[in-house]
């Protein structure tokens, strides 16, 4: 079966979720593009968008409409050629409207899992719950005569375990998109011990067509992305604990968030990133990873405490940030949650005093001015040289954080999670939008 035939009938499980909706968008556009090729005229392309609630599916369709319009606007130059034989489509607006119709026409929203019975390709982006995944795979596999291929978006569950538990005989591969899938270039590809070559080949071709960057990872819980991210969270949490005597909890959280963003030149601070992903999601990922880690304890008491107080973070349906460890106004952190008083403490109240205690720090190089700068390497080298020469409290905290991030990265290679240091850096650069890879020589 060739690539196009495989994509004629696809199901996305968890289609209305944050990751699922992005996968639906990308896949539906790819399927529509195939359907518009002259050689595919008359062929039907169907994507079953499966989720558990009508409300969520309705939201999915609204999201798709908005996003497909943007996609169409961006590729209008190419679309004029695609629709060259349609004499009724003259202006860009005619062509964009038609393309939006053609993409949405591919998508069939449904609550019925049975819809997947004719699909060759199944993208799964449901809750990070191993048993639930197994149960769903089995239901589909037992009723689908086409021996479907499963592409799981799990970010932490070992693929071999899923493969064997659901009796998939190698028809599964880890296919971990990054959030949001429509924007992030990275896809981690994780084979089980039995993954069939045809499944892997399809995954590679699909990624190539979508202009995604594939980074292979070994089948070790957490893989590369979360392997780094979860340990980064634990490190930041431990540092908060360490300095809590001298600072309040809110001040310590603010400091670690600040240095991990401003002084490590990242797009957001570590606790803002936790809120972005969701405290509950991070905690769940840790709990999935924990049993597989023999020599370390992947578990955060800090996240447990916050969740026990119903502090969860995550995002609203419109993509705006919910309050979590931090409270947000117009997307910017303005306060820190204090578990002691169960109140948000305004950052403005302690910011000046806390910043002063950092001591001499390099001039902040905002991430957005560095990440795509043609002279990035030079900028970073100069920046870290200055950081290295400073000896104050803040500089020490920052350097230790950077070195710990490097150690985490190196250990992912030593432990056989990543194939190479380059792969680790690629994941952080493309999946987390870091301006530089964690494994570097800036502080040597």
């Amino acid at each position: 079966m060739n690539y196009e035939e495989s994509l004629q009938n696809v199901s996305v499980l968890g289609a209305a979720g944050k990751m699922g909706s992005g996968i639906v968008l990308l896949t539906a556009a790819e399927m529509a593009d195939l359907s518009l090729k002259p050689e595919n005229k008359g062929k039907t392309f169907v994507l079953h968008a499966i989720d558990v609630s009508d409300e969520a599916l309705s939201g999915l369709m609204r999201y798709l409409k908005t996003q497909v319009v943007k996609v169409a606007e961006k590729k209008a130059v190419m679309l004029r050629k695609v629709y060259a034989d349609r004499k009724d489509l003259i202006e860009n607006s005619d062509i964009i409207d038609q393309y939006v119709f053609d993409v949405l026409h591919v998508v069939k929203p449904t609550k019925l899992l049975e819809a997947a019975r004719d699909s060759k390709v199944i993208f799964e982006a449901i809750k990070e719950d191993p048993d639930l995944k197994i149960s769903v795979y089995k239901k589909i596999n037992d009723n689908n005569p086409r021996k479907p291929w499963f592409f799981t978006n799990t970010s932490s569950i070992p693929i071999t375990w899923l493969d064997e538990k659901a009796n998939l005989e190698g028809r599964i591969v880890g296919y971990h998109f990054y959030n949001p899938p429509a924007v992030q270039k990275l896809v981690e590809l994780i084979k089980s011990q039995h993954t069939l070559k045809e499944v892997e080949d399809f995954g590679l071709m699909y990624a190539k067509n979508l202009k995604k960057v594939i980074v292979p990872a070994h089948d070790v819980a957490g893989f590369i992305g979360n392997g780094h991210f979860m340990r980064d969270i634990l490190y930041a949490g431990n540092e908060v604990e360490k300095i809590k005597g001298e600072y309040t909890f809110a001040e310590a959280v603010y400091l670690l968030n600040k240095i991990s963003q401003d002084y490590l030149i990242r797009p957001m601070g570590i606790f803002q990133l936790v809120d972005y992903v969701g405290i509950d999601v991070c905690s769940l990922i840790m709990s999935v990873m924990k049993p597989y880690m023999k020599t370390e304890n992947i578990h955060s008491p800090m996240l447990d405490l916050l969740l026990s107080m119903d502090v969860r973070g995550g995002q609203y349906a419109d993509g705006s940030q919910k309050d979590g460890i931090l409270k947000y106004e117009k997307g910017k952190p303005v306060a820190v949650f204090d578990p002691g008083t169960k109140q948000y403490i305004p950052i403005a109240g302690f910011q000046e005093k806390t910043d002063k205690k950092l001591g001499a720090m390099p001039v902040v190089r905002p991430w957005k001015t560095v990440v795509n700068n043609a002279a990035k390497e030079e900028l970073l080298t100069t920046y870290f040289k200055e950081l290295k020469s400073l000896t104050g409290f803040g500089a020490g905290l920052t350097k230790a954080y950077a070195l710990r991030s490097r150690d985490i990265g190196k250990k992912l290679v030593i432990d056989g999670v990543a194939f190479s240091e380059q792969d680790v850096n690629t994941v952080l650069l493309t999946g987390f939008f870091h301006a530089y890879g964690p494994i570097n020589n800036y502080l040597n």
Binding site: A76, V77, L79, R80, K87, I90, E91, N92, S93
Partner: protein, 415 residues
């Protein structure tokens, strides 16, 4: 053209900010000033300088596509909205694509010559940021023949001028021409930085020529032009008063603060035909020739010009069409520094369409306001020094792909 039966002057120019990407105030997510706001601002700006609406006999407004950008036609009826004193006075709206502004000027000049008016208030306006550029391209394509829109580029006019650039590259060489484009961009932005109303006034890039040498990407845009080769999407309005000698007395402005219209050329070409030779602006050449002839001067007497650089290739071809450079030597002419503000013939001294901005229907009027300011010594930081041997200003406003051209020659009022 027959000799003008009486003297015609332009005074009291006003430009709004050219609003769009690049201006710090621009935020498409917020409600921005609308069409009527720009009309009012520019109209009141000129009225204030000429003693109010009571002194106005007639009104003209030039606009290209408000009917699509703003779902608004019937613009003549906005004059009373500018000032109640204009209620009951004649007003007319004129359209000739991106040359609508200059057609407004010509219409006003003719009213003065016809002696039906001694003071005509002329406004040019366009508000384009109501739609994204990809849809704006559809609207602007109306300056071409709709029957060929289907086969045109998504970005229709950039596509048309990209074809001109491709032909020019092939005939005269790509490298030097692309370098001339980059120099043109640099001159445009550096001039715009001297004019507070310019769209590129806030531009801080320190290596403009390198930026402008960015290789064109035909997959996302057009084959032979990059974004720096193109004027931006702009909102704005300009206004000016066109007056007779009697009109000057009525409004109490001395000739020294006015420019005299020495002559003009207004030429139309067949919109249904492609340019016979895409490496030249034949219609522009004819219009400039007519303007110079009607003014009784030669191109070497022009001290400064405002030309229609909607695209950098249009600028290269325009300096040839105006007779400043020979055919095929426009790029060298620009690279030699002749068009820079300290060059032989400073062109687009406040940035032109690429630097100041291109609110399409307003551009022709903006050109006249800029020349009025330069020739009367009121150009502020962007003021250039004119030699006595070159006392004339020339504006060239173009509609479509070299289809409607209006060229006007000006001189300081008391010269």
């Amino acid at each position: 053209m027959k000799k003008l039966r009486r003297k015609v002057y332009m005074v009291a120019g006003y430009n709004s900010i050219s609003m769009g990407s690049g201006r710090k105030e621009f935020n498409p997510k917020k409600t921005m000033p609308g069409l009527e706001d720009y009309i009012k601002e520019a109209g009141q700006g000129t009225l204030k300088k000429i003693g109010g609406a009571k002194n106005v006999d007639e009104c003209v407004i030039g606009n290209f596509m408000a009917a699509r950008y703003n779902k608004q036609a019937h613009l003549g009826a906005f004059f009373p909205y500018i000032d109640e004193g204009l209620t009951g006075k004649p007003a007319i709206s004129v359209e000739g694509a991106c040359a609508s502004g200059a057609l407004g000027l010509i219409t006003g000049i003719k009213s003065v010559l016809a002696e039906t008016a001694d003071v005509v208030l002329v406004i040019g306006v366009e508000v384009q940021n109501t739609v994204k550029a990809i849809y704006g391209a559809d609207i602007l394509a109306g300056a071409g023949w709709f029957q060929v829109r289907k086969n045109g580029h998504a970005y229709f006019f950039p596509g048309e001028f990209s074809d001109r650039a491709g032909a020019y590259f092939q005939k005269y060489g790509r490298e030097k021409t692309r370098k001339a484009f980059a120099r043109w961009y640099r001159n445009a932005v550096e001039n715009a930085r001297l004019c507070p109303t310019a769209q590129e006034y806030h531009n801080t890039c320190d290596d403009l020529e390198t930026l402008a040498m960015t290789e064109p990407n035909g997959k996302g845009f057009v084959d032979h032009l990059n974004l720096y080769d193109c004027s931006k999407v702009s909102d704005g309005a300009s206004a000016i008063a066109i007056v007779s000698e009697e009109g000057l007395k009525r409004i109490g402005i001395p000739k020294s603060e006015a420019v005299e219209v020495m002559g003009w050329g207004h030429v139309e070409d067949d919109i249904t035909r492609q340019p016979a030779d895409p490496t030249e602006l034949a219609t522009s050449r004819q219009a400039v020739s007519n303007a110079l002839e009607s003014s009784g001067i030669t191109s070497d007497q022009i001290g400064t010009a405002e030309i229609h650089d909607c695209f950098s290739i249009a600028a290269v071809e325009a300096v040839e069409a105006m007779g400043f450079a020979k055919k095929g030597q426009g790029a060298e002419f620009i690279l030699a520094g002749n068009t820079a503000r300290n060059g032989m013939i400073p062109i687009n001294t406040t940035g032109g369409l690429i630097g100041w901005g291109h609110p399409t229907g307003a551009t022709g009027v903006h050109q006249a306001v800029t020349l009025l300011e330069q020739l009367t010594g009121k150009a502020g930081d962007s003021q250039i020094t004119l030699s006595s041997a070159r006392p004339y200003g020339l504006s060239v406003n173009m509609g479509g792909n070299d289809k409607t051209i209006v060229a006007i020659v000006y001189r300081k009022g008391d010269a």
